[in-house]
């Protein structure tokens, strides 16, 4: 049998398939774990409704728990409250930056202007920490990221958008 504490530790080592430097628990999508003699139930809140990584994440969670000795694994979805980038663990934000992705601002989404990029809070280059950056595209390789360019070190980088 796998206890809930053990299950949290196991999932702390299950990497996000798109951003392998952070785990599914760092990402804040694991909301609750219920473990007893019958097995483990993991309650997950999806990031983006159409995120193609969702299926892979569910499979990785199940595989990891089975490998740790869980006889039965149930993964349920909880939509409410919706996932927010504020659930990303503080230590994971640092790892995102080291990986070359600017972590999301804590700016509440509703306060952002609809038109044009928010200029109130600059997006800092994860490599040289310069504030002099510009947005190239509102959507990057995945819906959760935008593409920026640093005007100081001239490197392009991704920004994890606040959601």
């Amino acid at each position: 049998m796998v206890t809930s504490t053990e299950a949290w530790e196991v999932l702390g080592r299950v990497a996000d398939p798109e951003i392998p430097v952070i785990s599914v628990t760092d990402l804040g999508i694991v909301r609750e774990i219920i473990a007893d003699e019958d097995g483990v139930e993991v309650i997950v809140t999806p990031t983006y409704a159409g995120c193609p990584a969702t299926e892979v994440i569910r499979a990785s969670i199940e595989d990891a728990l089975r490998a740790a000795g869980a006889t039965s694994v149930l993964i349920s979805t909880r939509l409410f409250p919706p996932w927010t980038t504020e659930w990303i663990a503080p230590k994971a934000r640092k790892r995102l930056r080291e990986y070359g992705i600017a972590p999301p601002h804590a700016l509440p989404l509703d306060e952002q202007p609809i038109l044009f990029a928010p200029r109130r809070l600059p997006v800092e280059c994860p490599r040289c920490r310069s504030d002099d950056t510009e947005r190239l595209s509102q959507f990057g390789a995945t819906a959760c990221k935008a593409v920026y360019r640093c005007m100081t070190c001239r490197e392009p980088f991704e920004y994890f958008k606040p959601l």
Binding site: P46, Y48, A49, G50, F80, P82, Q112, L115, T142
Partner: protein, 256 residues
Amino acid sequence: MRATLVQTGAELQYLLRIGDSSLILGQRLSEWCGHGPILEEDIALTNIALDLIGQARLLLSATGELEGRSRDEDQLAFTRPENEYRNVSLVELPNGDFARTMLRNFLFAAFQGPLWEALRTSAYEQLAAIAAKSAKETRYHLRHAADWTVRLGDGTEESKQRMQRALDYLWPYTSELFTPTAEDDAVVESGFGVAWSTLQPAWEAAVLPVLDLAGLKVPARTPFVSSGKSGRHSEHMGHLLSELQYLQRTYPGNAW
């Protein structure tokens, strides 16, 4: 195996209308995959398509659950005939050029925003949860499309002309968003949903200032009202569905 007819329950029709509108626009935007004018926009359009299809999956699953006939999201998407689709006609129109695609995204996201806000308090908990989740994503769609609307409308002679042409083409189809229906009345009564007609002021407040900033001339309203939400679609819908449903129609029940 023939799909059973959707029951006439107002709640089901209302849910389908929202889910189908997301699904069909998602399908249209997917057509841009590999054809975007620049790589970044190709990726943006397909990302937005994914968000919309994600919304549709949640909404169609919720519809299937509520219907209680063990139809899942896939059966609802792939086995319903055209007249059982309840999406507004606006989303099924061909993409046209990049200007028309962007402008439609803008007009539709500006509608989805107030819709999600209103549905957060739906008596149907699942719908309220989907609305709260989708509201966040729609905000990014709106910002993206509003940027392009202004950039192209206030751009070169050519881009301005294309944007104006797109507005003239799409504008008549926006009337349908706000026409009252019996389903709207029923879902308001039960606390399940909001009457779409009440969303018009919020939509106009989001749309008109951006069109103005883009230097576009808003066409006058005409008596034309499209009828997708009652299942009477434009000539484009059948072609879209033949592509969307091809695999399940050819190999029913196939999975991989």
